[in-house]
C-alpha cells in the first residue's frame, strides 16, 4: 500500500483500470446474494435470473465506464448535469408518462426513462460543487443557497409523486451540507423547522395514499387484509425465520405467496425468512463493509469536491439500505425503496452503480490531482 502510494509506476492492475477491488468484491458478493434470493422469491424462475443478470452486467459496465472519468470532469459537469436534470423533471410533470398512479417517466420514443434517477447523482454533484467553492465550514448564506438547490428537485420529485426517491435525494444533499461542516446550531434549527413543516406536509402536500401508508405504518393490524396486509405478512415472514431461518427455498411465506412484492421491495423479508437472524447479521456486515470502504475513499480524497461527493454517495447508499430494511421490518412507513444490489430490477441499479463508479474514480484517480 505504502509502495503503491510512493511509486506510481508500481500501481496494481486494478488501479490502472480504476477499480477499487474491495468495493467491487463487496458489490459482487451482494449481487450474488441477491440472485440467490431472487431465485427463491421469484418461484425458481430462471427467466427472472437471466434478466437480472443482464441488468447487472449493464450496470457493472456503466460503473466501469464511469470509473474511468476523472473526478475533475465530474466537477466541471456538475452544473450542466443539474440543470438538465431539473429541466427534465419539469418536462416529466408537463408531459411525462403515467404509470402506477405516478408521473415519473419520460418517453424518449425508443426507451422510457426516469429523470429522477439522474438527480440521484446530479444533486450530490451539484451540492458538492456549490459548497466546495467556498471555504469549509460553509457560512449561513451558502447553506441557504445549498438548501435552495436541494429543495427544487426534491419538491419536483415529491410531486410526481415519488416519496422514496425525493427522500433519498434530499438526504444526499443534506449529507453534503453535514459533511462540509454545517454548524450544529444550524442543524438544530433546521430540525426544528422541519418538524414544524411536518403538519404542513401532511395536510397540503401528501396524497391520500401516502397518508394511508403512514397510518398503516402506525397500526398495521387496523386493516390486516387491506393496506396492512403487506407489512403484517412481511413481519410474519421475518419473525418466523427465527434465529437461523427456514433455509433457502423453504420460506413458506414467500414460496406460498403470502408475501407480496417478494422479489422487489420486500425481498429483505424473503431473505430474513430463509436465512434468519444470523443471515441478516452477515448481510449487514456486507453492507457495512461497502459503506466503510466508501467513507475511507471519501476521507482519502484530496479535494473537497471529491470528499463531499464520495461521502454523500456512500451515506445515501446507507439510507437506501436502512429505509428498505426499516420499512420491511415495520419501523418505517412503506415507501417504495428497493434493497440496493439485492432487489430485482430497476433503473435504480444502473444509477446506483454509476454512483459507485464515481466513488471508484475518486478512490483510484486521486494521484492525478495536484495539491
Amino acid at each position: 500500500m505504502q509502495k503503491t502510494k510512493l511509486d506510481p509506476n508500481k500501481q496494481s492492475i486494478w488501479q490502472k483500470i480504476h477499480i477499487d477491488l474491495p468495493l467491487l468484491l463487496g458489490l459482487l458478493t451482494l449481487m450474488g446474494v441477491g440472485l440467490f434470493v431472487i431465485y427463491s422469491a421469484g418461484g425458481q424462475d430462471w427467466d427472472l435470473i437471466k434478466r437480472q443478470l443482464i441488468r447487472l452486467a449493464l450496470a457493472l459496465t456503466v460503473m466501469l465506464v464511469v470509473a474511468q472519468i476523472p473526478p475533475l470532469a465530474y466537477r466541471r459537469l456538475s452544473v450542466h448535469f443539474y440543470v438538465v436534470g431539473i429541466l427534465m423533471l419539469v418536462a416529466v410533470l408537463a408531459i411525462g408518462t403515467v404509470g402506477k398512479g405516478a408521473q415519473r417517466w419520460l418517453d424518449l420514443g425508443f426507451m422510457r426513462f426516469q429523470p429522477s434517477e439522474i438527480m440521484k447523482l446530479a444533486v450530490p454533484m451539484m451540492m458538492a460543487w456549490y459548497i466546495s467553492r467556498f471555504n469549509l465550514p460553509p457560512r449561513l448564506l451558502h447553506i441557504v443557497g445549498g438548501f435552495l438547490l436541494l429543495v427544487v428537485p426534491t419538491l419536483l420529485i415529491a410531486k410526481q409523486p415519488d416519496l422514496g426517491t425525493s427522500l433519498l435525494i434530499a438526504s444526499s444533499g443534506l449529507f453534503v451540507l453535514f459533511l462540509a461542516g454545517m454548524s450544529w446550531k444550524l442543524i438544530g434549527s433546521v430540525a426544528v423547522l422541519a418538524s414544524a413543516f411536518a403538519p404542513v406536509m401532511w395536510f397540503f402536500l401528501m396524497k391520500d395514499y401516502q397518508k394511508q401508508r403512514v397510518l398503516t405504518f402506525l397500526n398495521p393490524e387496523s386493516d390486516p387484509l387491506g393496506s396492512g396486509y403487506h407489512i403484517i405478512q412481511s413481519k410474519i415472514a421475518i419473525g418466523s425465520g427465527g434465529f437461523s431461518g427456514k433455509g433457502w427455498l423453504h420460506g413458506t411465506q414467500s414460496q406460498l405467496e403470502f408475501l407480496p412484492e417478494r422479489h422487489t421491495d420486500f425481498i429483505f423479508a424473503v431473505f430474513s425468512e430463509e436465512f434468519g437472524f444470523t443471515g441478516i447479521l452477515l448481510l449487514l456486515v456486507l453492507y457495512c463493509f461497502i459503506i466503510v470502504r466508501g467513507m475511507i475513499i471519501a476521507t482519502r480524497a484530496q479535494e473537497a469536491y471529491s470528499k463531499l461527493l464520495a461521502g454523500s454517495l456512500t451515506l445515501t447508499f446507507f439510507v437506501y439500505v436502512f429505509v428498505n430494511m426499516g420499512m420491511v421490518s415495520g419501523i418505517l412507513p412503506v415507501v417504495g425503496v428497493p434493497l440496493p444490489l439485492v432487489s430485482y430490477g430497476g433503473t435504480s441499479m444502473v444509477t446506483l452503480l454509476a454512483g459507485f463508479g464515481m466513488l471508484m474514480a475518486i478512490g483510484t484517480q486521486r494521484r492525478l490531482l495536484s495539491r
Binding site: I236, I280, I291, M295, A304, G311, I331
Partner: protein
Amino acid sequence: MPPKRITIRDHSAEANLFARRTVITLLGILGLLCVLISNLYYLQVTRFQDYQTRSNGNRIKVLPVAPNRGLIYDRNGELLAENRPSFSLEVIPEQVENLDNTLAELAELLNISSEDIEDFREELKSQRRFKPVALKTRLSHEDVAKFSAKQHRYPGVSVEARLTRHYPYGDTLTHMLGYVAKINKKDLQKLVEAGQEDNYAATYNIGKQGVEKFHEDRLHGQVGYQEVEVNNQGRIIRTLEFQPPIPGDDIVLNIDVKLQKVIQDLMAGYRGSVVVIDPNNGAVQALYSNPSYDPNLFVHGISSKDYRQLLQSPDRPLINRATQGQYPPASTVKPHLALLGLEEEVITPQTRMFDRGIYQLKNVERPWRDWKKWGHGWVDVTKSIEVSCDTFFYDLAYRLGIDRISDMMVKFGFGDYTGIDLYEESDGNMPSRGWKRAKHNQPWYIGDTISVGIGQSYWTTTPLQLAKSVTVLVNHGTRYVPQLLRGRYVDGQLQLNEPRELAPLVLKHPENWDVVMDAMYGTVNREHGTARKAFKDTKYISAGKTGTAQVISIAEGEEYDAEKIAEHHRDNAMYIGYAPYDNPQIVVTVAMENAGGGSSQAAPIARQVMDYFFTIHPLESHAENQVRSE
C-alpha cells in the same frame, strides 16, 4: 466564475473537519443499525414462536376426511346399499368474491334451476365456515367438462368427486333399509349433543330412516384428517400429514332380498305389508310395506315436487306399514286367547259350546254376532280356531275378563315395541282398564271385553308385533327380539350377531301349547279350516290363522277423512302362519288394508311366500317324511 472573496484554503483543517464529520456519521450509522438489529432481534428471536405460529396458520390447514360408509348386504351376500362415485359442484362461500354473480353465471353455464339455488342459499345458513356446500349434485360428464374449462374464473368453486349412496334394489327395500340424505340442522344439533360433530366434519349424508338410521354409528366410521399446506389462494400445495379415516362397518342383514322382491310383486296394487321371521332366532328375513318409493330420490335431495307427491298420496307410501301400521288383529289372535283360556283353566280342550250365530249376555240387550250368520253349531276350542268361531271367543273373553287378557297379551308383545332395529315403529295398543281410564276417562265396559275376544275393540297391533307373537307361540314361550342385523364384517370375516332372547313365557300347563298349535294346523289342513283352500296341495305342511278386521283406522294420529269412508270401508285381510309345522323355519304375517277377507286375500299371499321360501330352501327329506307320516 471564481469566488470573489477567497481566502487561502486550509486543506488540512478542512480534512480534519471532514474526518470528524465522517466519524460522527459513522457513529450515527452504528446507532441506526442498532435500532434496526434490535428490532429484527425482537421479531426473530423474542417473538419467534408467535410469528412461527402465525406463519403456520397462514399455510397449514387441517381438513377432515370423510370415512367411507359401510356397505350393506343381505343374508346371501347381495349388495343392498353401495357407494358410488359421483361428481358434484361445490362452493366454499368464504372463498368466493361475489357470490351472487358467481351463482348467476354458474346457473346459466350448467343449467342449475332456481330451486337448486334457493336450496343452496338455505343450506349456506346452516353450514359451518369453510365447509364446501354442494350447489349441484350428480353432474354429467358434459357438465364437468364445461365447468373445468372455466374453473379459473370461479375461485372457491370446484367439482368434487365423492362417494354417494346408491340402493340398487330401489323401492324393494325402502322402508326396512331406509336411506341417507343431507345432514340438516336438526341432525347437526343431535350430532352436537352426542359429541359427534367432529366425527361428521367431512360427512355430507346421514342415515335418515330404516337400517341406515338405526345402525348409523356402525355404518359411518371414524373421520380422518389431512394436514395440508395451502398457498395464499387457498389451493392445496401438498399434504403434510394424513390420518386416514376408518371406514364404517360393512354389515349383513337377515333380509333375503330375493324373498323381499317376490313379496313386493305379490303385494302389487295393495296397501299392506308382509313380515317373514325365522322363529328360531328372531331373524327378520323380509319386511315389506306397499306402496313403496325409490330411496335413491332422497340421497341427492328430493325435489319438492316429488316429495309433495309422496307426502300427499292417499296411499301414504312414506309409512312403513309393517312396523308403523296399526291394525286390529282380528281373529289372528284367537290362538293366543285360546291358550290363555286353557292356561287359566277357564276352558279345557274338551269344553264345547253350541254356536247359533249370536252371543247374548244377560241384562244386555245388544247381541254380538258371529261372522257366520247361522253359527257353527257345536264347537270346541280347536274347531273354534279352525273355523274362526266368534261366539266361542266372545264367551271366552267374557269369562277371562280384560285384566287377565291384557296381562297375558302384553307377554306376547302386544301393545309394546318389538325391539326391532328400526326407529320407525309404533307400539300398537293392548287395551286395559287403566289405559281406557287414562285415555278416554271412561270405565271399562263388559262389552269392550267381548270385542277384545275377536281382536277388535281398542286392540291394535302392527304386523311385526303380530309376527313376533306368533314366534312366541311357535317356540312354546321362547321369545326373541326381531332383528334385521345379522352381523358385520371384521377384516373380511363375517361376525354373526347373537340372537336377542327375552325371558321366556312359561306356562303352568305346557301341553296347552300343542292344543293351540294343532288348531292352527287344522286351520290350514283340516276340512273346515279357513285357510285350507289357500294352502291346498302345498309341498310342505304349514299352520296358521286367518283374520278379517273391521276398519277403524290405519295409523295412530291419522285424521279420519269422512269422504274416504266409502273406499276405505272394506275389511282388512290378515293372516298369520308358519311352516313347516313340526319344525318351523319361518313365520309369515300378511296384513292388507281394505282388501277383504283374510282367508281369500291374505292367506293366498302367505302361501306364495312360503312356496317360494321352500323352493329355495328345500326341506330335508327326513323332515318331510316325518311330516307326512304324522
